[in-house]
């Protein structure tokens, strides 16, 4: 599944328009605890969180996450978005809660897997 498919099918907003959205992923991880994300997120994951501070860029960058999905329409400040684009980290904004967002991702990934 590609980041673009998430934007098209779930109406997530792309906050980093300068970055490509053709990156793919096959799993997702949801946590607001940075150490948990550090341990579990891989380059094959999108990371779902409500944290909107600078440190999430460090975590996503270290683990080369496919994208960060911020939930509940918690919009980060411009500085974070600028830095994300500099570092090449795709950020999406979901209007739903982390639970709802994760459920949607789970179903989409499951459907894709079953369709293979």
């Amino acid at each position: 599944m590609t980041i673009q498919q998430l934007i098209d099918q779930l109406s997530f907003q792309l906050l980093t328009p300068q970055l490509k959205t053709d990156g793919s992923f096959h799993d997702a991880y949801t946590s607001d605890l940075l150490s948990a994300a550090l341990a579990k997120v891989t380059e094959d994951h999108v990371w779902v969180t409500v944290q909107v501070h600078q440190n999430i860029l460090g975590v996503a960058s270290i683990k080369q996450a496919a994208a960060i999905i911020l939930t509940e329409s918690l919009h980060p400040d411009k500085d974070l978005i600028d830095k994300a684009q500099e570092k090449g980290i795709v950020i999406l904004l979901s209007p739903y809660t982390s639970f709802q967002t994760s459920g949607m991702l789970y179903n989409m990934l499951k459907e894709e897997k079953n369709g293979d």
């Binding site: 605890l33 940075l34 891989t42 380059e43 600078q54």
Partner: protein
């Protein structure tokens, strides 16, 4: 692999971490990861190392008064990291190494730090782990070994 240094090195890099400054946590870990790319191009290895350095950096920024230093020693087959600070140290090492236990302040917890799994993350991703602590400070040493087949880089 034996826990002995297989190759001497003069490649030592030092990074300073400022105490009680949370917004830059991760910046040194990224700098270390970037610097090491020339020595160890395999991304999986660098991710493991990056996780460990991130956690060590977070501990220095959150739990110390004056911050501390991260020394990176590069060997042909491994990297040794030494994180040092001058206090206040861990009161109870056993508790500090228990998953879920944390003394991080509320300001750090609100940012998603202080889950009490940082040191355990290092233990999990590193191949060698040593820590000692007193009121005068804490020294954490860990190594991440690049024991994969170099031809797969």
């Amino acid at each position: 692999m034996e826990n002995t240094l297989s190759n001497s090195t003069d490649k030592v890099f030092l990074y300073e971490v400022i105490g009680a400054q949370f917004d830059t946590i991760g910046s040194k870990a990224l700098a270390v990861k970037k610097m090491l790319h020339d020595y160890f191009p395999k991304s999986d290895y660098l991710r493991r190392l990056g996780v460990c350095v991130f956690e060590a950096e977070a501990n220095l920024a959150i739990h110390t008064v004056h911050g501390g230093s991260i020394e990176v020693m590069v060997f042909s087959d491994r990297v040794r990291i030494t994180a040092k600070d001058d206090g206040p140290g861990m009161k109870d090492m056993k508790k500090a190494l228990t998953p879920g236990f944390s003394t991080a302040p509320e300001t750090a917890r609100q940012l998603g730090f202080g889950g009490g799994v940082g040191l355990n993350n290092i233990k999990r991703f590193a191949d060698y782990f040593y820590i000692e602590s007193s009121k005068k400070g804490t020294t954490l040493v860990f190594e991440v070994w690049n024991d994969d087949d170099p031809t797969t880089h």
